[in-house]
């Protein structure tokens, strides 16, 4: 059997509908405020990121310069000389007869260099620099 629901006539409903434009304005204001807050927050996060990265960049630059200094110091002629002495390696300049000079306008400098290094490798004289 179908039960009919009776309306409660004593219940008082205190409500009134607002006009549509007003609701629209409120919604727009709220959305704008939310978007603004979101943007401010995003900008702050981005700003922090940029700050962090700037600091990181400075740190990396400093580290690079420090490493560059160490590397330059390590490969300075005086250090290489000392290292050779430390390991009892005696380097000698090739004698005049072992030096091959190529002087031809048809051979460019690049080819001379590669040819020279090939010859040096062949004669086991590669890398002879700064010695007596």
């Amino acid at each position: 059997m179908k039960v009919r629901k009776r309306k409660n006539r004593k219940k008082m409903v205190y409500a009134y509908s607002k006009p549509a434009p007003f609701v629209g304005i409120v919604v727009v204001v709220v959305v704008t405020a939310l978007v603004y807050s979101y943007l401010v927050y995003s900008c702050q996060v981005l700003g922090d990121d940029i700050k962090r990265m700037e600091r990181q960049q400075i740190d990396l630059k400093n580290r690079y310069v420090n490493e560059e200094y160490r590397w330059t110091e390590a490969k300075s002629p005086a250090n290489i000389d000392a290292a050779l002495k430390r390991h009892n390696i005696v380097m000698t300049w090739p004698t005049a007869s072992q030096v091959v000079h190529l002087n031809s306008p048809t051979v460019d400098k690049h080819n001379i260099a590669s040819l020279d290094s090939t010859l040096l490798r062949g004669s086991r004289l590669a890398g002879t620099v700064m010695n007596d």
Partner: protein, 566 residues
């Protein structure tokens, strides 16, 4: 609940609220009325941070550019402490021990300094950032760091006299550091930024920013490897001959580019404050000496250029002693008649003096000036001397004959090598230089040096003749045999000069020198070696000649110079 109680419960908070608002209102009124400007300023000051950004001094490279760094700037810190904070926290011992261990400082001194109520105590200045990592991690209370930079020279002693150094105030005080300070120094920047309550910089509220301009980078004409070769050769000769000093220059004859310039004694650029003025003197440009026989080349060049003699002209060398103007002039070896060519080869004083007399003092003086004697060369280094060359009107009766053999005149090594470069390049006096290029921190080229011919001094024909005759000096029978280089023909001249002392010349102290160029047929580089007061031998040929040979032999390999006859 009675009505009274409800009223009472509402009343008290209301009163409290009213009192609070009235208080705030009063405070607000006080803040805005009266001295509110100073208050605003104080608040602003708290919210803004002004920070100077230190410009990095430019780097210095050798002729191969960034591959070979000769000077660079590293970030560093001044380490300081706030003793009050440290002593209040009762950690004086721990902090002092850590700092003492870190910087190798006396523990007692540190403890005394830190155990006080002062607010400032300097621990160490100019500590490179790389050495502070463990200290950063330790986070010691009351220890602070001030930003600064430190100038470093990774090659230590190498090229010390040319590079110079930067003093503790960041001002270039010698060498290139001094001469090119305005390019190297850069310009500090300023950063005005807004900070929050925790003193953190706010990115979105950044204020004025004056950007930092880092210093420009300088590329020199110096070749690091040739420089090392030269310095090692000088160290060896200093040791072997117990010399008081030694200096050498390697220069490109056609352009005036200085490939190496070294002077002994030397010093470590990273410890410049502990060196003496004598060590800091760049003798290659700042020490004048009587050149002796190396100076004869000028008299011969002049005579040939003016067609006064030919190389085959015979001149009597008076068997080694010539009485002229009441004074005796001697040769180191007795000769009879010699051709002019042989006179140069055997370095005859008498023959050279006679040639100079044939030239005449005014004409000879004109050539001396044309060769740049008595004037600064204009090299881009501070501290260059002009040498001594008196006006002919002040010359005595024997001056002409003595100046021709390198007495009564004083030169720098740079002037002397200039004379030989002139002969080697076909007769042009070229201005020597060290700075090749200056590039700003944003990559813009500010300066690029080109070869600068000052004037033509002698003709190409004379220069060619002189090159041929100077090459005979290193042949058998010449004074410069020990300057030879296997596979190459060397042209040059030895010089042995007694040192001038008060009232005459020293009997024991000499200046031995050799100056020449290689290859003799097609010269590429000129080299001068000067040794001051050598012991165990004093002749230019025996003391300076071998050093020249050693430097030339290795320089031609480093610079890939082929023999001239090839």
């Amino acid at each position: 609940m009675t009505n009274d109680r409800v009223i009472l419960r509402l009343l008290w908070p209301s009163v409290a609220l009213v009192v609070a608002f009235v208080g705030l209102g009063v405070r607000l009124a006080f803040l805005h009325i009266g001295e509110h400007e100073s208050t605003v300023l104080r608040v602003e000051r708290r919210h803004y941070r002004k920070r100077s950004v230190i410009a990095k001094r430019g780097s210095i490279f050798d002729r191969n550019g960034k591959k070979n760094i000769l000077a660079l700037t590293l970030d560093a810190k001044h380490v300081k402490a706030d003793p009050k904070v440290i002593s209040d926290k009762g950690v004086v011992d721990e902090v002092a021990e850590k700092l003492s261990k870190e910087f190798d400082l006396p523990l007692d001194k540190l403890k005394n300094g830190l155990d006080s109520k002062r607010r400032y105590f300097l621990i160490k200045r100019f500590v490179p950032d790389a050495e502070l990592e463990s200290l950063y991690k330790a986070k010691l209370p009351g220890v602070h760091f001030d930003d600064t930079t430190i100038r470093c020279y990774p090659q230590n002693e190498l090229l010390c006299h040319v590079l110079g150094f930067v003093n503790n105030n960041g001002i270039g005080s010698a060498g290139i550091e001094q001469r090119a300070h305005k390019y190297l120094r850069g310009c500090d920047g300023v950063r005005n930024s807004r900070v929050n309550a925790r003193n953190q910089e706010l990115y979105w509220a950044e204020g004025r920013d004056i950007p930092v301009i880092n210093g420009s980078d300088i590329t020199l004409t110096i070749d690091q490897n040739v420089q090392f070769v030269v310095e090692r050769a000088l160290d060896a000769v200093m040791k072997k001959h117990e010399a008081r000093g030694a200096w050498a220059i390697v220069e490109k004859v056609n352009t005036g580019e200085i490939l190496a310039m070294a002077s002994r004694p030397a010093y470590n650029l990273n410890k410049f404050s502990t060196t003496s003025a004598d060590q800091r003197l760049n003798r290659a440009i700042g020490y004048v000496y009587e050149p002796g026989s190396t100076f004869k080349a000028i008299a011969f060049s002049t005579a040939f250029n003016e067609n006064i003699v030919s190389e085959n002209t015979l001149i009597d060398c008076e068997q080694g002693a010539w009485f002229h103007q009441g004074r005796i002039l001697r040769d180191s070896h007795a000769h009879g008649k010699l051709t002019v060519a042989d006179g140069l080869k055997k370095s005859s004083n008498i023959l050279t003096a006679k040639v100079a007399i044939m030239i005449g003092k005014n004409r000879y003086y004109k050539y001396l000036k044309a060769f740049g004697i008595g004037d600064r060369t204009g090299v881009d280094l501070p501290g260059e001397e002009a040498g001594i060359l008196h006006n002919p009107s002040n010359w005595s009766g024997i001056s002409l004959s003595r100046i021709a053999i390198g007495q009564g005149v004083a030169v720098t090594a740079l002037q002397m090598i200039g004379v030989y470069c002139t002969i080697a390049n076909g007769g042009y006096l070229v201005r020597p230089y060290v700075v090749k290029r200056i590039v700003s921190s944003n990559g813009e080229e500010l300066y690029c040096r080109k070869a600068d011919a000052v004037r033509r001094v002698i003709t190409e024909k004379t220069a060619k003749k002189m090159r041929r005759l100077l090459a005979r000096v290193t042949e058998d029978g010449g004074t410069g045999k020990r300057a030879r280089v296997a596979g190459y023909k060397v042209a040059g001249k030895t010089g042995t000069a007694q040192k001038a002392v008060r009232g005459g010349y020293s009997k024991t102290d000499y200046i031995a020198s050799f100056v020449g160029f290689i290859p003799a047929e097609k010269p590429e580089i000129a080299i001068i070696v000067v040794v001051d007061t050598p012991r165990n031998g004093y002749y230019g040929g025996t003391v300076a000649g071998p050093v020249f040979s050693k430097i030339a032999e290795q320089s031609v390999r480093c610079l890939d110079i082929m023999p001239g006859n090839n």
